[in-house]
Amino acid sequence: MRNIGDVLKQNLMKREVIISLVILLVLTYLAISYGLSIILSTLIIFSIFSIVTLSLNLEVGHTGISQFGRVISVIAGAFVVGAIPGRILAFLYGLPFGLEYADDAVNYKVVPFIHKILEKNIALALGFFLFCLVLAGLSGALIGWLTSRPAIRLREAYLGISLLAFGDFFMWVGHNWEPLVGGTTAVFIPDPFRIVWGYRIQAVAFTFLAIAVLVYLFIERITKSPFGRTLKMLRDSPLVSRVYGKNIVKIRTQSLVIGSAIAAIGGALYVIYTGTCTAIGFTRLTWTFWPWAYMMLGGIGSNIGMVLGVLVLTVLRTLIILYRKSVFGFLLLWGIDPIWLEYTLLGLVIIFIVLFMPYGLVPEKAETVLPSGRIKAILESVRKQSSRTPEN
């Protein structure tokens, strides 16, 4: 039995614990000086990006696919939620639901009607929310399956570039094809959280956080399972996994389908939170490169690192936005908006990690089949046996 002091000392000295404590202090300070709403909105953004980054980590960190098209599946989730559930409700209640639904002159009249219905009926609101998530997950899985087709053929860099290009393409389709999500104008999403009006942001924050925790547990469960170890084997050496009789094509497809479905749920949550869906908002900068930066900061391949990476960078972004006048106000003398420092920060973080911390905040730990205590015991017994038998 170790005493409690030793355990505390060991755990407190861990990097992730120290960082979390610092962030907690920063958040408490912000809560005291700016009120709780800023914490809640940070928490919502944190939950959404945690989901997206965890799914990215499943594909990049665990399977070794160069996924530079995360935005594709986020778009799949967001556009489907923007286009379909609202139409279904409009159809059920006799409102215009065809191609004209996404037209901004119709849409801004139809959605308030749906809001009035959703406000009163808690079962409907809950069902609507769950339906959105399921729909987003299904469409994400479909898109993941579609992107897995080239993923089998192409080499890593080619694949990354192709996925990046197709992410742009989907964004332009949404931007130009008005019946989908309103084209250049935003389409409104019926808001299932209207039922708790007044406490909407709190409800959204806790729901999203709960979903993020569920996704984290799910991915942790997957990566600790035999399937997760197969993924890592595939990443480290495709040859070895082929030798062991694994079907590489099938495993890659499964990983992409699961990852895309989760990312699509992230996209769906984002549009439900903002209440609108604008195609032009789903740029590859926000939905591919930001999650990549989070992932690299957290440490590619470790799940808790993802959460930590998202937390650190989200809080830093919030700080830049909050203190852009008081700390970086000198830039305004030359007419420069300090908001651009966000990009500088992102770039510097990526470069710093690549150069000095290639394994991120929480380096990936080796997954073992048995608990580490049992492995040590087995090693010990093997050593004893080998020392007992004379070598010849």
């Binding site: 990049v60 080499r155 570039i161 192709s162 290009a165 332009w172 007419g335 420069i336 990526i350 290639p358």
Partner: protein, 313 residues
């Protein structure tokens, strides 16, 4: 001389061929997919714009300055970022991400520069129509004649440099086989630096040319990086000439193809312009996973001949 859609297409294709050639050059020497090409191209455009708006005169006389500035950006990227990573033998993805970080810093500097220019000098750098400052030549815009000439000149110079000079030969040797080249006493460091100088310069020049056919914005390079990569991938990422050709094909196909499609189908298709290069890229990758340069032409011709004979007999 040219109809307006072809004139625009020629300028665009030349610009894409310059940038795609630069991307290919950097990939075959340093294994780096350079995302910073976006920032470098935008910087090239802004250098031309700034010098033109302060000093006036002919637009094209500032293009060499753009090239030099792009080279400078390339040198900074190589010394600060690429060299330590190459020494560590980092993976392709890590190299790619490092240039992405550099690109984001360049983007933020460009945005701040735009703010500064519009605040202090009352310019309008966020939406620039450079073609308005262009002059006319042979009853068409000068850009449509000069930019292909620029692209061909750069291609010729590059070819001469690679085949006729000693350093070019050592560069080709490093591209062919880095280990063997360094064993025979070639300083691979210098070769990499040179490729960043040329690649960065080509990117900036490409950006400057690009602004002659489209609206110059701080995110111009960022929106076009997919097309640049499409050109490089179409070229096969194995020879610089392939990259230059691929960029030209992608650019011309985008302009000319969309013109004909719009005439046939209707103007609504203009919004999906960027789907064309992607379609070309996807088809090429599906048919020839190694791009145009990876096709074994002699083998292909032979098999076609054989198929014909088989049909006859």
């Amino acid at each position: 001389m040219f109809p307006p859609w072809l004139a625009g297409g020629l300028v665009y294709a030349s610009a894409l061929s310059l940038t795609a050639g630069g991307i290919t050059l950097l990939y075959i020497t340093t294994r780096t997919f350079n995302f910073a090409h976006a920032g470098m191209a935008t910087f090239g455009f802004y250098i031309t714009y700034i010098f033109y708006s302060f000093r006036g005169g002919n637009l094209y006389q500032y293009f060499p300055l753009s090239f030099l500035f792009g080279s400078l950006l390339g040198i900074i990227c190589y010394i600060g970022l690429n060299k330590p990573l190459l020494r560590r033998q980092a993976s392709t993805i890590t190299l790619m991400m490092s240039t992405l970080g550099y690109d984001l810093i360049l983007l933020s500097i460009i945005q701040m520069l735009c703010d500064y220019l519009s605040y202090t000098f009352k310019l309008y750098p966020r939406r620039v129509t450079m073609s308005a400052y262009d002059f006319e030549m042979f009853r068409t815009s000068a850009a449509s004649i000069i930019s292909p000439i620029i692209a061909i000149t750069i291609l010729t110079l590059l070819h001469l440099f690679l085949t006729r000079t000693k350093f070019g030969t050592s560069m080709r040797a490093t591209i062919e086989n880095p280990i063997l080249a360094s064993a025979s006493g070639i300083n691979s460091d210098k070769v990499y630096l040179m490729s960043w100088v040329i690649g960065g310069g080509m990117a900036a020049l490409g950006g400057a040319v690009m602004s002659l056919t489209m609206t110059g914005t701080p995110v111009m390079g960022m929106t076009l990086i997919a097309q640049m990569f499409a050109g490089a991938i179409l070229g096969g990422l194995e020879s610089i000439y392939g990259g230059i050709l691929g960029g030209f094909i992608v650019g011309l196909a985008e302009y000319v193809g969309i013109y004909y499609l719009a005439v046939m189908v209707g103007p609504w298709i203009l919004g999906y312009r960027m789907a064309l290069p992607l379609l070309i890229m996807a088809i090429t990758l599906l048919l020839f996973p190694r791009g145009l340069a990876g096709i074994q032409w002699s083998y292909l011709m032979e098999s076609i001949k054989r198929a014909r004979k088989g049909v006859k007999s």
